[in-house]
Symmetry: C2
Subunit: 225 residues, 2 copies
Amino acid sequence: MSIQAIAFDAYGTLFDVYSIRELGEKLFPGRGMALAELWRDKQIEYTRLRTMCSMYKPFWEVTQDALVFSCNKLGLALTLDAQNALMGQYARLQAFPENLGVLQQLRASGLKLSILSNGNPHMLQSAVDAAGMQGLFSHLLSVEAVKKFKTAPEAYQMAPDVFGLPAKNILFVSSNCWDACCATWFGYTTFWVNRASAPLEELGVVPHGQGRSLTDVVDFVEKNR
Amino acid sequence: MSIQAIAFDAYGTLFDVYSIRELGEKLFPGRGMALAELWRDKQIEYTRLRTMCSMYKPFWEVTQDALVFSCNKLGLALTLDAQNALMGQYARLQAFPENLGVLQQLRASGLKLSILSNGNPHMLQSAVDAAGMQGLFSHLLSVEAVKKFKTAPEAYQMAPDVFGLPAKNILFVSSNCWDACCATWFGYTTFWVNRASAPLEELGVVPHGQGRSLTDVVDFVEKNR
């Protein structure tokens, strides 16, 4: 497949979106996991509705909207302090432990690396800095540039554009199966980091590679350069 | 607002998508509700992914895909018999008890009524027949005609087209808050049948009317003709 560059999804793939459950648990004892999961689901749902309806607004604001809804739905009283604390945590999500080493290894092997994310530029820069990943990516591609969230083709088109490569020569890596599947439809070579041992989405399309952590990307790349 | 016609969402609004939980419970004791809810969520998710990626396929098939995924995810062994039984039930969903009377009343008042649904034509006709609603609707509008699911504008545009009316003179009725919100963005006058006392979606838009059952639509229409 001749992989010459890699585009990584950010949230869920490089940065652990469920890491906020610990803060959620502190703020709302016994409900941290439920809040983290609903918040994530709603965040993604709102990106899709806004994309289909051409009502883009930045991911930071969508994330805040999703937090407010999730607390309403779960009957949790969201004070302004709690909202600021949770959103602040979202700007400094934990990275998965293997990520930094894997990214350094891939970068050292001569591949160009980028992020391709729903996050707006400020969020992405903040997360990259917090994870000590400065200097590893040639581009932090945010859908803010096209005002459509993934899985719109305009969003996926950004990496082929900046790398000057056909999508099939770029490996798109995501821990979200729907993202890996839709990127496969788009034309990327794709790798699904299936951290949670989830079943494959029934979309009639299968990512080209699959593994349990970002470490497994290295092998796949070696075999497909 | 001068309402001159009404377009009803079908699944969840006229037909109870959770009514299959009884059959699900019989097939998978203790898991009927979990299956019904995940099946519904996945069905909707797949319509959105397929719409954003221009990968339309009929709602019947998407519904079947969502059932297969949901059983995989929940660890339920889906035999072909069970699959056929659940899909067969989906073709004959129960209507909410007040619906037939309300539709007859609205129809008798001289309003034109239609369905505007993700369902493909065969599914819609089957559901209407099973609920004894033959003859009440001038149009059963299926997104099959535009090959994009709601909330794509092409889907919402069908009712203004067939009625020859601006969207604001058509009342769009849905029990799905996201559907009522996105139809409001589109330009319809909208009514949210909030059967489950759910919180409003945080999309920065509010349906024009809201009630607890289809019966509440009658009052809203009387005040806005």
